[in-house]
């Protein structure tokens, strides 16, 4: 061992240096970790949101058929549509809840799919409005709302 006086002064001066270096590294690591997790979570949210939107759009497209936006489907077509098949094709096994509400001339519940009660991590929702012909020959306004989520 070398016995001079330099080591004593160096020991006390290295502590604040060490503190700064450790602090800086910790801040850098924490912000990088948080940023990566946040970006990944937002990507997952966007993916889920896109799925919800495409599910709702698919329901509207199935109701209108090939006749486009100007075609007004009937209320019975809403009741008869196979939503499980559409969910299977659009949601890739994700859980969903669906509600179809009449907004005008009166607010009425038309149809609903409650979804499971499993805990979920991410959740997204989408809605669309369309005109529907009821039994009395009145064109009503209907809203299709879907909530889609990933199981934990």
């Amino acid at each position: 061992m070398k016995s001079d006086e330099l080591g004593v002064g160096g020991f006390f001066e290295d502590l604040p240096v060490l503190a700064f270096v450790l602090g800086g590294t910790a801040i850098l690591l924490m912000s990088a970790t948080w940023s990566c997790e946040h970006i990944a979570s937002q990507h997952a949210c966007n993916e889920l949101r896109n799925r919800a939107v495409s599910f709702v759009e698919r329901i509207c497209a199935e109701l209108r058929g090939s006749r486009g936006n100007e075609f007004v489907p009937s209320l019975s077509a809403i009741v008869q549509l196979n939503y499980s098949r559409l969910a299977e094709e659009e949601l890739d096994g994700r859980e969903y809840a669906l509600a179809i509400l009449q907004l005008h001339p009166s607010v009425q519940w038309i149809l609903g799919h409650p979804g499971s009660e499993l805990p979920c991590s991410e959740i997204a929702a989408a809605s669309a409005m369309l005109n529907v012909l009821n039994e009395e020959g009145t064109t009503v306004i209907v809203e299709v709302r879907a909530i889609v989520w990933e199981n934990e």
Partner: protein, 185 residues
């Protein structure tokens, strides 16, 4: 641990380097957090409930039936049975207003239109419908349900055109303003 301190400035240089490293890591962290914050998510379910696309609302509104029986007392009474399309009723009203009729006979119809628009718009937004005619003089609206306040806040709007009764083009604009604004209170 005995001895005297070395007064050379080598240690100070190391501390200086550490402070610079610390400052640089703070700077990089801030940039990283700012970058990550820009990745905004799609919003919560509440956000979905609090917003409806004005395009969708206007399209659904114009093609819906009035849904209630009304009698419009012009020179001769016009009966609206409820199955008439709202766009058709707006065309009739526009034509009557352009021919010099007052707004009074149409107040009930306008109330129905406003009620439908409110039921289709998100609860936090107040709807305003403005009707213009292609061959009318100037850009003054022929009809407004209701009139939009002058200093209205930031709003979302959508327009649609359809033919009127005598070959003119009717331009309908739906404006959705945040309902919490003091101007709308």
């Amino acid at each position: 641990m005995c001895g005297r301190m070395n007064d050379s400035d080598g240690g100070q240089l190391a501390l200086m380097d550490a402070v610079v490293f610390f400052a640089a890591s703070m700077l990089i962290s801030t940039a990283l957090l700012a970058y990550a914050s820009d990745f905004a998510g799609p919003g919560s379910i509440h956000a979905c409930n609090d917003w409806r696309d004005p395009d969708e609302v206007l399209h659904a509104f114009l093609h819906a039936s009035v849904g209630t029986e009304l009698i419009v007392n012009l020179n001769s009474s016009v009966q609206i049975k409820g199955n008439e399309e709202i766009a058709e009723c707006i065309a009739i009203e526009t034509q009557a207003l352009r021919s010099g009729a007052g707004i009074a006979p149409f107040e009930e119809l306008n109330d129905v239109c406003l009620r439908i628009l409110r039921s289709c718009s998100a609860p936090l937004y107040e709807p305003f419908l403005i009707v213009l005619c292609s061959d009318a003089n100037g850009t003054e609206p022929i009809l407004a349900i209701p009139w939009l306040p002058e200093n209205h806040p930031e709003a979302h709007a959508s327009s649609a055109e359809f033919p009127g009764l005598v070959g003119e083009t009717i331009l309908v604009t739906l404006i959705l303003c945040p309902a919490s604004s003091p101007e709308l209170a």
